[in-house]
Symmetry: C2
Subunit: 197 residues, 2 copies
Amino acid sequence: MARIKTDKNISRKEVIVSKAATLFREKGFKAASMRDLAEAVGVEAASLYNHIKSKTELLHELCFSVANRFLHKMDEVEAENISNIAKIEKLLRFHINEMIYHYEEVYVSDREWKHLADPYLSNFQNQRRIYRKRFAAVIEAGIRTKEVKKIDAPTAVLIMLHAISGIESWHRSTQKISAAELEENMVTILVGGLTNP
Amino acid sequence: MARIKTDKNISRKEVIVSKAATLFREKGFKAASMRDLAEAVGVEAASLYNHIKSKTELLHELCFSVANRFLHKMDEVEAENISNIAKIEKLLRFHINEMIYHYEEVYVSDREWKHLADPYLSNFQNQRRIYRKRFAAVIEAGIRTKEVKKIDAPTAVLIMLHAISGIESWHRSTQKISAAELEENMVTILVGGLTNP
DNA sequence: CCTACCGATCGGTAGG
DNA sequence: CCTACCGATCGGTAGG
């Protein structure tokens, strides 16, 4: 009995967080109201507060769950015994797939984090900065081994990460090409832009 | 006398639009209040309405002035008698420079257009779709002449345009590399990603 | 989970 | 350009 109740609470909260992701993506964090969210969930606005503490709590749950997935993947890839180009490609494919299959959350984490309040805000910005430095370090290692062109590594990271966020437009469109084709095209262009001919 | 008064009104409005761009970029359109804007301009909130009609008017002035600049440049480049790769490079360099030197406006036009109201909203989305199709057409022409790799042209456009929006992070950062270096690095990576080896 | 409601803030107007 | 102010909407709470 108690078990069932617990499960139900958890799944209720998960529904709220998930609907919040969709809403924050569609309207932006500020423009999406708790009344909108309540309607999407199918309850009155006041009832949401039995499951969550505040609107901002929803935002930082979304932002940090996404950030943690990327940092975790980075740990994994750094530890692998493969070429630097192969590492870069693995990271790119992970980003692309995250964007395709966890679109709403990743989009919100990417574009709405500035509305976080300050213990979380600086924490998030920090994690982000660290992630990019680690990514740039992989590129720099690739430049040293001559796998990669002599370019400014932080600029390359910026290009990669933002290029992938363009999948947003693909996701919204009628999707003339498949997810697999999209992934191959992106990897071809981005890895092709880095590698020495 | 009348002349001076007219000039003063024009420049007053320009100050308001410009401060609005900065504010909308910093906080997002919804989170930036007219009271914030009034403070930045140095007047009371109510006084703003002697120069502008509404908050949304500020947004669509920003969005459309940026969109028009890009469409105008596209006209110009299409008409030139140069290779397709050279056209792509010209467009990229224009985008990069717009992002570097008109950062606030371009950023707002890129990220806040979804808060436009509906005659303007669909109009803006239309212009954007047309622009991207024309950009893709240049890439497709380049594929036909074998200047460019066989890739999906709309995907390539997505990557280019979003990659360049990454300059935002460069702009906010301590700027370890110069604008010129940034431009060369971006062109190297992006054009290198498209061209046949 | 709902009804009832609060204080704050919003975009914008009236009138001078 | 300002003072004064309005109706709407916001995130969130009390109490059941």
